[in-house]
Symmetry: C2
Subunit: 239 residues, 2 copies
Amino acid sequence: MIESLLLKLRKRDVVSPDEEQALRDLITEVEDIPARKTVVRRGEPLNRSILLIEGLMCRQKDLRSGDRQITALHVAGDFLDLHGFTLKQLDHDVMALSPCRVAYARHDLLTRLTEVHPHLTRLLWFSTNLDAAMHREWELSLGQRTGAARAAHLFCEVYTRLQIVGRLDDEAYALPMNQSELGECLGLTVVHTNRVLRELRELGFVQFTRGRVVIEDIEGLKAYAEFDPTYLYLDSTPR
Amino acid sequence: MIESLLLKLRKRDVVSPDEEQALRDLITEVEDIPARKTVVRRGEPLNRSILLIEGLMCRQKDLRSGDRQITALHVAGDFLDLHGFTLKQLDHDVMALSPCRVAYARHDLLTRLTEVHPHLTRLLWFSTNLDAAMHREWELSLGQRTGAARAAHLFCEVYTRLQIVGRLDDEAYALPMNQSELGECLGLTVVHTNRVLRELRELGFVQFTRGRVVIEDIEGLKAYAEFDPTYLYLDSTPR
DNA sequence: CGTTATATTGAAGTGCGTCAAAAAGTGTGG
DNA sequence: CCACACTTTTTGACGCACTTCAATATAACG
């Protein structure tokens, strides 16, 4: 159940059998979530954090005009709102993009964990810092990259993250969202998102059709996006 | 020396005298940094984190074209790279925008702190999560707000953050950067930044001249920017 | 099979970038 | 105090990336 989480963490540091057990003990109830359901609403008090076991979720903020920005994507093995453990409420919504399976980690157990497992605590802390690193890369994309490069970069990032947790299907993967939602990740309208996707397709880099990404030329795509995975911290270092 | 940090933390939770002392013991050497100096370079191994005592610093990422994005601003009381404690190296540079005074917190002492002070650890964890919340709000700005609203929002955010640490000078404050650097925060060119500033001035909201922000109508500015400080977590809650 | 969501294309408009130059401010040395 | 060089701000003209509005095509679904 926490296998993807372990894959993710062990890519970055050693997790002892003891710590693995502590994580297993942390996770209680499992639940299935339908697509499009909001699982955490901004401002609501939190007493547990959610681990994504299967599916695709996102964090989003919106303006009064209704314009939305998706600020993060989450794949299997990610905590959706571990930051909520110290923040106690979120500044944004968390929504399922596909049908998902999640598990819950109660905050009182997490508090206990911080008192008993300092190294594991630092690892969980690391994992929220990793989210922040991705936010920064998205800021760079939104502020400086062209629409096409932004899309290309996103495809590279998700490719890399899914690879870690074994969700790549050869050179393709599931990205269950429509072009409108993809546009909300990229800060583009649906119409322009569609044009940008055509460009990437015509360049022979990648195809995105009905929630599925097929990579045709990963090296070309990475070069085009200036994708440098440093910000994903893929080295195993004592944290 | 850590007074601004204490103001910042105590705005969000209780810091016991014991914990205050632990923080004081954490901070060793103090140093003065000249403007424009890069204090942390991406990729370099870190064994300490930096607390900003006085001045303005930023985090920045760039593309090969030379286009830069400033992903965060830091004021007195902020840790510049506390995330570096668990990341062990940064994915971006940290640079002084003005002459600054900083103090250092060694990572071995921080590790020790996590083993002895779980609640304080959670508070420091919180503070990195707060940085992430600001990153998300900037993503919303960069992705969805117009240039003028983005600038207005930034002025509101810094106004609020400086207020907490007592650096407001009536309805004005120091923001020691030029229009080019402001543009790099906003994802705009200098030229357009200049036009956006004129617009905000003509609307009677705010003036930005030679590194100084003079707020003329804070309520108007907040409304214009749709500034909602929820994401700054200004309530005192047990973390 | 009809209904609704999603994708695609076209045409026209706009926010912001680019290029270029002038104006204003700042710092330094004489 | 001025002279000079340099940085920063400001403005104008023009171009482009992206948006908006609108219509059609295609896929998904009960």
